[in-house]
Amino acid sequence: MLEKVRSHKVKKVIERMGKKLNRQVVGSLVACVHCGMCTESCHYVLANPDDPTFAPAYKADQIRKIFKRHFDWTGRIFPWWVKAQDFSTDEELEKLKDIVFGKCTNCRRCSINCPMGVDFATFNRMARGLLTSVGIMPEGLAAVSKDQWEIGNQMGVLKEDYLETLEWLSDELEKEMGDPAARIPIDKMDADVVYAINPREIKYDPRTVSDAARIFYLAGENWTMASDGWDITNFGFFSGDDDLANTVVRRLFEKVIELGGKKLVLSECGHGYRSARCEGPNWTGMDTPFGMESSVMTMLRYIQEGRIKVDRNKNDLPVTFHDSCNNARSCGFFEEPRELLNLVVTDFREMYPNRAENYCCSGGGGAMSMSEYTPLRLKAAKVKADQLQATEAKTVVTTCHNCVDALTDLIRHYKLGMKVTQLVNLVSNAVVVEEKVVAPVEVLILRGYKILVVDDEPDILTFLSAVFEDQGATVMQAADAEQALDLAGKEKPDLITLDLSMPGRNGGYVFEELRKNPELAATRVCIITGKPELRRLIYDRPVRPPEGYLDKPINEKSLLVNVRKILEVAHEEKKLN
């Protein structure tokens, strides 16, 4: 019988699988009895009841069949008896990619419902790593991993941009507190706390950094942030690339050691917490002569020790809490966030199920960076949407940035009309500032600036114009690409807010034309879109990326914070030049 000729990539996958197998993985691969008890624990199954290929055991079998064919004695001798199967083509690997990346978020809900103790997430990650090692992975994941390797963080934030943002946030804090000491220390030696964050906070939501800084200041903490090695996220964790996983955590740990920090405090990021706190010491093999904790624990301790005082009446809207899979189901971190939440809100409504049995937001496992699977993800999110709706809460709180994005997406998709926030925002809002340190608030913060708003929806144009004009800006409006380019050329605005999805020529075309025009290339651009999957229209272009990015529906406070940041940074650069 002619043996099938295997492609080079398939040969490598099989060879490397042998090296990745250990007792725990093999146990999970062989112990499945196909009882189907895991089936209804999976949010993909519940959202796709007519498609049995979403069942965890089926997905697991797509990996298991290769293992059985090459490493299991029955599978090697009688493959048809146990449905062992060999792979030979790259197309088969591509199909496997769609399963291990697109149909599973590694949430482990099936694992805790398996009577045999099969941990599907562990060997799903193994399969991801094998495919990644031969270059088969979702494009978005590859791009982000590349940034994390080469630039040091998953969002490609350059060091100067990172430091500028922290500088700007420090200025804001100093102004608010009326105290020159109220700043974000950078690379301070021998601090008690080294605070590390998710790059999403710098790029899209600097409020979370400023809220944390405010809390540290009010608690009188001896703290610092690092100028590099500050990214707690880990795309090696998502892609199964152990080398990247090791490198990322190692950078984090080595920086804390270099600074002599006594404790590494991790901002609210689910997989970041798990990667650093739980998996990092295993990946790196490093001894960590410093403590590690989530910022949730830190804030809770400040309140319990009386270092900050909070007034829960400042957060009086009904809230519910979403347990991030990595924090909760994989790290046992579910009571402390609730304890903190109960101290800073008046109306907390538990969703059901909760804690270790809570459902995935559908954005885990790196799903938010895999735009090709967005429709599948949003369909699977129906389970979470139903949970949220049942609480009748106005806000959902979570301790993970991927969950923030995924929940925002599903709330918009299912029209739930809820907000998403994190514990640091609620604590900062509830904190009682005992000394009167109200700094004069600058009225008309956008006075003197010219802003061009580009959107095909009249309501959005009206809203943005009103917000910017209320702050003193001169606003021009454009409803399509041609009008936008025409006005940009004539008026030379300081900032352009740009929608991506427009009839005719889209926002991506406008953006590229702006960047290619020497007279307009330096114009600041903030993308505002309700379709995050269209980000590729921008980031695939061979031009300098935009200065800002916001999701719709637009939060007015977030809009002003981001626009102000972009314009003030531009102003500082002009002064320097």
Binding site: A31, C35, I112, Y352
Partner: protein, 167 residues
């Protein structure tokens, strides 16, 4: 405890079947040692009838499980020939155990011979089949439990289910 797992709690009847089926299998394995080495233990008629009842229940449950495996689209999709053969084998073995339990070779050796031949066949077949899960699962449960227990996930704590309209 078993009901700490959501999948068990939501399917208690299914779980009860699982318990009964495995009790029947365990009892039959034990009987394969008792009959040759301590036959007096299996003399009381009450015990024999009880065992027969257990084996019959196990066999019926096996029939239901086979039906489920062939008709439920999720289970059918993941089933292999080994899954079906192992189940059939156990069903037949439990059925034959009903006849073997009285241990009356004077009334015909057919049941006892078939029973012991099948038991011996298991020794050969188990390492190559899914039935070997009974050897693997203590290890997988240990690894998973150790990891999750160390991180405080186990024992799983649940919040109460909200009553309708409760805020």
């Amino acid at each position: 405890m078993p009901w700490a797992m959501e999948s068990t709690r939501q399917k208690l009847f299914f779980y009860a079947q699982f318990v009964l089926f495995h009790l029947a299998v365990g009892a039959s394995i034990t009987m394969s040692f008792v009959i040759p080495y301590a036959p007096s233990l299996i003399k009381p008629m009450v015990l024999v009838r009880g065992l027969q009842g257990l084996f019959a229940a196990g066999c019926l449950i096996g029939c239901y499980r086979l039906y489920r495996r062939l008709t439920n689209p999720y289970i059918r999709q993941i089933s292999t020939p080994d899954d079906i053969f192992s189940l059939l084998l156990l069903m037949v073995w439990l059925f034959v155990s009903i006849g073997a339990a009285p241990n009356r070779p004077d009334q015909g050796e057919g049941s006892l011979l078939t029973y012991f031949i099948m038991t011996a066949f298991f020794l050969v077949y188990v390492p190559f089949s899914k039935i070997s899960h009974y050897l693997y699962y203590p290890f997988t449960r240990y690894y998973f439990g150790k990891s999750m227990g160390y991180r405080g996930v186990y024992p799983i704590k649940r919040g109460p289910q909200p009553t309708p309209n409760k805020v």
